[in-house]
Symmetry: C2
DNA sequence: CGCTGCCAACCATTTAGTAGGTAGATTTTT
DNA sequence: AAAAATCTACCTACTAAATGGTTGGCAGCG
């Protein structure tokens, strides 16, 4: 993990998240980092290698973020809202979710990459499902909701809102959607109190 | 609107929705339609022209679908569920939403295309907002929801679910999310009755 | 010495787009 | 109605630029 390697990962991530995987070239990346094209191949022999490293680093960062949320917040609603704010950063910076971007180009992507992206989503679904289940048990969430279904709904809503509000309504619109999403999960009186 | 032109639009739409805008080439399209590359340029001089025509045709088809929904269904919940089933088709065929695909590659796209995509989403938001407002007035929806915010949430959820369940859970998972989404909009007792 | 990080120069292929032409239909002119 | 001009849809053959990737070398350093 050299300095240049980290810089390559950072700039490549930005490029993918703004223009897509097929939408950026090694030439673009070289220009962004300030080295020559051939030097990128030294760190990442093929574009697929780069993409795999990108997803791995992204997934690791998210894992750390999920752990931090669990440490910082106790109740399920607060945790889910904090999870949603992770996406808000993307809206603010004009960056889509890396895995959403890649998922959309799915058909044209190497097989292993698709599997890694699927695992990314599955991990988040499982995490949210756990949060929801715990929140239900503690009475912090509206009784009657199905954790499995709601976990998928939460991610779908956040991914969709990021996708859409990045070019439409910006951070405020995203925050509005996040608020409504959380409100739909908590008991009626708690929702009205917000 | 010649036959070949329509065929080009159809195949190009499929290509974009599976592999992204930057992810397909005139060579791919030519092969799919069975004519030569140069002949595509006769119908669509530049790739941007093609993309613009694609979005225009897609938006028109959706306009027709929205009108059909209004004709076929009377109550807001049924209309919103029917709207959601529009997206289900994409999951079943393994195709993303054209405008979502393009929105994700946003930064690398021609300006006018971005504007057209934004208008696509805005129109849907406005339509849903109208449905929600009417449903609220007739008491078919859970009182207290904000039509503006919920309209955005509905589209975000459906776009996100399409994106995710296309590669993860398939039509059943999408249907589950759609069900939960509609349930979150109707009054509590109606929701429980489902 | 051998390794790492980088580079210039190259390569084959693919990219969007152009040039120029042909066969057939349609329209315009006589 | 015949002839001439124009248009449509497609083609082969090309181009310049960009694509991902390779080769071989060079400087610095433990």
């Amino acid at each position: 993990m050299r300095d240049t390697r980290a810089e390559l990962l950072m700039q490549a991530e930005t490029l993918v998240r703004t223009s897509g995987y097929a939408g950026f070239s090694y030439a673009d990346l070289a220009a962004a980092v300030g080295i020559r094209k051939a030097s990128i191949h030294h760190h990442f022999p093929t574009k697929t290698d780069l993409a795999l490293a990108l997803v791995a680093a992204y997934a690791d960062r998210y894992d750390a973020a999920l752990a931090a949320i669990e440490a910082d917040h106790r109740e399920a609603p607060a945790r889910i809202e904090a999870y949603g704010r992770l996406y808000l950063g993307g809206v603010e910076q004009g960056l889509g979710c890396l895995c959403a971007v890649l998922a959309i180009e799915g058909e044209a992507l190497p097989e292993q990459l698709r599997a890694d992206i699927a695992r990314f989503f599955e991990r988040h679904i499982a995490w949210l499902e756990g949060m929801l289940r715990e929140g239900l048990a503690r009475g912090a969430l509206r009784p009657g909701i199905d954790p499995t279904t709601q976990a998928r709904l939460v991610i779908a809503t956040l991914e969709g809102a990021l996708l859409m509000e990045r070019l439409l309504g910006g951070p405020e619109a995203f925050a509005g959607t996040l608020g409504a999403l959380v409100a739909s999960l908590v008991p009626a009186q708690a929702s009205a109190a917000t």
